[in-house]
Symmetry: C2
Subunit: 522 residues, 2 copies
């Protein structure tokens, strides 16, 4: 009674068309409502379709269109990122069919049901994530179902390993390849741009690939970009590292841990930053970049990401467990995160602070210098020829002697120097100032509020925007002492920042004995 054989069913063919819409990390396919295929196949808006050509295959979320200017009935439109993945020209014939759900959907559903996943489950999920098989809804479900304490440490290890396996992994062919990383949350904390030239000047291999800001007013890549080109092809990056023992480049071009970038696209709008995801994200990127030794900075303070010593210790143990499983030598340091580091917040302001430290300028922020020296000392001690405890003094010698500055200038030249005069930095011309409402001592500076103001002011997109701090914790102020100045490039940005400062200026003025104690030392 069956009157159709499988052979009789041929997949529907359409002509491919680039739809110039940026849908970020989600593949979107556009099909006209009157398209034969749409009507015959029983597609639904938001259902998944599989698009194939020349052995290439992608999954995309379907948007139904009623405008022939976007797609005609004979065409299949793809959003920009999806089109690029197909790797063919406009007008190429593609076949379209209803997509089977991604193969890892069973594993995702088990995680949603509260079950523990195994190595193969994570491998399958992360493969689908990296290949853009997940919709935004599915990505979000994975991220929420694995946040907080939903992952045990073994699962975090599986997740980390899977994230490394789907991307490129660099091999420097040396036994000692160091890196440093901070979990973030402290504005102005640009130690990498000091630690790198010091450690590279010592001779230790330090191929630093940094991120751009995700939720902060500046990432190391954003700040370095004030001084030099950071978007280096992978070959040039290798060449620079071989010659100079280090670089300060953006990691995005290297395709290290590509699944991480996709997951971040949903974590960012939700401000999710759970321990398991943080560990997998950081360690997968570092291991993929070929690091053998990592110094990890966990700042702790009332407005830092980590607010208590027990939380910091728990996070430290999770990092250490996964690092050990991955054979990465890890040194965790818990640092003072009570306030921003340095004076400037925002790319240009931070680049100014960094150059002042490198030049041993008396206006250089002492806290930034001290923290960078301590971190550099730890990394230098990874060198088997250096005795434990000697690292700090070696780092200080390299900085004080100007060798770190020379190294930095060499790296800047190699990456492609941009003109920047840190003595007269080009700061956003629109400004407002915030002054002390009463006399007393600065007893609190809110990292989150200062970061928010710098972002509202335009950082990091507007490099010259940000906040310049005049007072730090413990400083004695009079009524109307200048606390900080906000710089912006556009009137509406300035207004956003001003409104934020009116809600809360971010400073607390009180009595000397109310200054929170430094409860960490390394």
């Amino acid at each position: 009674m069956s009157n159709v054989t499988p052979e009789a069913v041929s997949p529907a063919r359409l002509s491919l068309r680039l739809v110039r819409i940026d849908t970020y990390h989600e593949n979107v396919a556009y099909m006209h409502r009157d398209c034969e295929v749409y009507r015959a196949e029983g597609f639904k808006a938001l259902s998944k379709v599989e698009v194939r050509t020349n052995g290439q295959r992608i999954l995309a979320t379907l948007n139904v269109v009623d405008d022939e200017a976007i797609v005609t009935c004979g065409e299949l439109g793809l959003s920009k990122a999806a089109f690029a993945q197909m790797g063919v020209e406009d007008g190429h014939t593609v076949t379209v069919s209803q997509a089977e759900p991604p193969e890892s959907m069973g594993a995702l559903n088990r995680k949603l049901g509260g079950e523990r996943l195994d190595r193969e489950d994570f491998r399958a999920i992360i493969q689908d994530v990296a290949e853009h098989h997940y919709s935004k809804i599915e990505l979000t479900a994975f991220v929420v179902a694995t946040h907080r304490d939903e992952l045990d440490r073994e699962e975090v290890y599986f997740l980390t390993e899977a994230m490394i396996d789907v991307g490129r992994r660099l091999d420097w062919h040396e036994p000692l390849v160091v890196d440093k990383h901070c979990i973030g949350g402290i504005p102005g904390n640009r130690t990498s741009m000091l630690v790198l030239p010091i450690v590279a000047a010592h001779g230790t291999l330090f191929p630093k690939t940094s991120s751009r800001a995700i939720t902060s007013p500046a990432g190391t890549a954003d700040t370095m970009e004030v001084l030099a080109n950071v978007e280096l092809p992978i070959e040039q990056l290798h060449e620079i590292v071989r010659t100079h023992r280090g670089c300060l480049a953006w990691g995005g071009t290297a395709n290290l841990s590509p699944a991480d970038d996709v997951l971040i696209s949903v974590e960012r709008p939700l401000s999710l930053d759970s321990p398991g995801q943080m560990v997998a994200s950081i360690l997968s990127k570092k291991i993929a970049a070929g690091s053998t030794h990592l110094v990890l900075d966990i700042p702790i303070g009332p407005t830092a990401k980590v607010r208590s010593m027990p939380d910091a210790q728990r996070l430290r143990r999770l990092f250490e467990y996964v690092a050990r499983r991955m054979k990465l030598s890890l040194d965790v340091v818990i640092t003072d995160g009570r306030q921003p580091i340095g004076f400037g917040i925002g790319p240009v302001l931070e680049a100014r602070d960094v150059m002042r430290v490198l030049e041993n300028d008396p206006r250089a922020p002492a806290d930034l210098r001290q923290k960078a020296l301590r971190l550099a000392g730890r990394l230098i001690e990874c060198d088997p020829d250096v005795r434990g405890g000697d690292g700090f003094a070696i780092a200080r010698d390299i900085l004080d002697s100007g060798r770190a500055l020379t190294k930095m200038n060499n790296i800047i030249q190699a990456q492609g120097s941009y003109s920047f005069d840190h003595n007269h930095p080009d700061l956003g011309a629109l400004t407002f100032e915030v002054r002390a409402p009463r006399a007393g001592v600065v007893t609190g500076i809110d990292n989150l509020q200062l970061a928010r103001m710098a972002r509202f002011a335009g950082a990091p997109k507007v490099k010259s925007a940000g906040v310049d701090l005049m007072c730090k914790l413990g400083d004695v102020v009079d009524v109307d002492t200048l606390l900080y100045r906000v710089h912006a490039g556009y009137p509406s940005d300035l207004e956003f920042a001003r409104q934020a400062s009116h809600k809360s200026c971010g400073y607390t003025i009180g009595l000397a004995e109310d200054v929170p104690h430094v409860f960490v030392e390394f």
Copy 2:
């Protein structure tokens, strides 16, 4: 030093344009990459923008466009649903600005952090959901963070109440307004189309608004639509109910619990169906529809949504708790969910079964008739003039006498009759059959697999598609006895269904003593 006053910042103005893309329940705004506003305001792809005109205000997710055929630099494009919400014409001037996050984002973040939310939190979240202020990412985060046991019963009550408060609420001005509902999962379970004419014929007010299929091969609205128009304006629906004491309409036009429709748009692709969300979804819709008394059907069986008696009892208690808080009189019945009800699965096939029961046709499925009579009996006993225990006999009299059929025909005429000959139903012309692989007794019929095949065959979109069962649990079969026939309207649909049946045919043949016992009776 401040050189810009707040007054100097005017929001950016653009000309509104309808972009004919169906993005389902997510508002999307399209802005050209070279648009002054985009560049000046520092918008990012996927960030939220606020669009305002004439006192109307919506939030939308931003897609950046590089094609002037979609939007020009002076225009702001809106997806279809978003455009409709603005309620103005193409070319109208709108102002655009970066959106503050939805006000309830703090509450959502607390839920993501594992905290318990209070009444005001749920009110704020559901308000934002109903007004389309949430992106798909935020919606998914809410749904995943509140699924499984993440909501306590008090929170489920707050959620239910909030869902009612944001929509329309009907008032029938009568003391007794009944409804019935099944939690779903059992194919062919079309009892509402029998219970309604029986109970309405008894004279009890029964304004049934049904849903379309979400993940099943047919909802009551899909099946009723074989017989009559179900998309009724709210005034006509009222008129029919006043005249006939009942109706069988689709609930979507009535704007009852609009947040529920938005949440379902992300629950569906994830196949999420947690107790808390189920209770809030069902009870909010029923209470908004003005019901005072509800009979709720929880089927239980190895492939039903609820698989054990303890789970059924836990779910019953949650329904009862929330119903009591909402002052809804609730009667929960736990029913036999071991296999599909009736013979047909799919709109036309199910409509055929329903009409045969109403006509007392000897070919009518006995299980569908029996279950409908029992449910109708329970509802009739809500009438204070009926003695406890008499409901079933009254229901049977109404059905056997033909009064239920007359009532059904009157309602069909009132809603707008479609031609349908249930003696010669117009079934999908493409078919295949599945036969018993060996002799024995039918010991299992997999609800999920049969529903999947009916959906692959095209149901409910193709009304004539589905599965027609020839054998039920306990039936004795020989080798090659016909188990079921699959009907489809399109070759590719038939092929999908066939592939599914090859993976698993859905039937188990074994020994008479292996038939699972009926462990429920009501």
